[in-house]
């Protein structure tokens, strides 16, 4: 056992969630499969949830956890609607590439 005991501070958690958010953002930018892009959006939402819990604990306030609860509900609704849209788009075409979905381009 090393004599120095290091306890992770809130900053560590916040830096971790910053890295997680950035990985999710890069995934949205580079991937072409709409399902994987959705998963990357989930990564970003989780990073924000982790930030809320960490800051709520650092400020000793339960409201952070209450907000995370609502974020989870909204994320569940968002996934349901998003996957419904993806299913109804993919039923009309075979490919799974967001670059092909350009009918709305002017």
């Amino acid at each position: 056992m090393i004599g120095l005991v290091v306890v992770p501070t809130p900053t560590w958690y916040l830096v971790l969630s910053a890295v997680l958010f950035s990985i999710g953002a890069v995934g949205v930018l580079v991937r072409r499969n709409p399902l994987v892009m959705f998963m990357c959006i989930e990564l970003m939402l989780n990073a924000v949830n982790l930030t809320f819990v960490t800051v709520g604990r650092a400020m000793s306030d339960i409201d952070g956890q209450a907000i995370v609860f609502f974020v989870m509900v909204v994320a569940a609704a968002e996934v349901v609607v998003g996957l419904g849209i993806i299913v109804s788009i993919m039923r009309r075409r075979s490919g799974v590439n967001v670059d092909d979905l350009s009918e709305l381009k002017g």
């Binding site: 005991v5 290091v6 992770p8 501070t9 809130p10 900053t11 560590w12 958690y13 916040l14 830096v15 971790l16 910053a18 890295v19 997680l20 958010f21 950035s22 990985i23 999710g24 953002a25 890069v26 995934g27 930018l29 580079v30 399902l35 994987v36 959705f38 998963m39 990357c40 989930e42 990564l43 989780n46 982790l50 819990v53 709520g56 604990r57 650092a58 400020m59 000793s60 339960i62 409201d63 956890q65 209450a66 995370v68 609860f69 609502f70 989870m72 509900v73 994320a75 569940a76 609704a77 968002e78 349901v80 609607v81 996957l83 419904g84 993806i86 299913v87 109804s88 993919m90 799974v96």
Partner: protein, 179 residues
């Protein structure tokens, strides 16, 4: 001990997140997402948010990822994507630079703003230290059902709208009368 838990769960989170964006196969990406979600749940527990950790495992790792897998299998898109093809030239490099810049900016903001975290609430119950094992759930319920009860009611409307909208979107149109 908390350091050990933090390091292990951070490795889970980061390996899973990198797996989501680098695995070719969508099913593998979904399973990597499960790893990340479990890691975040572990960090919730170590920050004394036990209820949210349970909800995270049930709702995210359970329901949402199962929904993803259902859609992957329903659409038959479970074939590997060729990541070698780069549709827009130079896009990967620019995305990598943007990601690194985002990490740098957010880290700088967090480190410089860490003094702003001051106590302002009534305190969060720590069931590990305290004698009441349900303290976290009781505290969260007191907050949601008193301060945020209106938002909670709106949430139910949101869920109903989402379910009805999805049924309408995913329905096959049979008759002519349905617009």
């Amino acid at each position: 001990m908390e350091l050990f838990v933090f390091v292990c769960s951070s490795i889970m989170v980061l390996v899973g997140a990198l797996g989501v964006i680098f695995r070719k196969h969508p099913v593998h990406a979904a399973l990597s997402l499960v790893l990340t979600l479990f890691g975040v749940a572990v960090q919730f527990v170590s920050q004394s948010a036990e209820f949210l950790a349970a909800v995270q495992v049930i709702v995210y790792a359970g329901a949402i990822v199962i929904l993803f897998l259902f859609v992957i299998m329903l659409l038959g898109v479970d074939r590997a994507e060729d990541l070698q093809i780069e549709p827009l030239t130079g896009q990967r490099w620019i995305a990598g630079v943007v990601g690194l810049g985002m990490v740098g900016l957010l880290t700088a903001a967090v480190v410089s703003g860490s003094d702003a975290l001051r106590l302002r609430g009534a305190g969060i119950a720590d069931p590990v230290a305290g004698e009441n094992a349900d303290a976290n759930i009781q505290q969260l319920a007191n907050s949601i059902f008193s301060d945020y009860v209106f938002a909670f009611e709106i949430t139910s409307v949101l869920l109903v709208v989402a379910v009805v909208g999805t049924v309408l979107l995913a329905r096959r149109r049979t008759g002519k009368g349905m617009a």
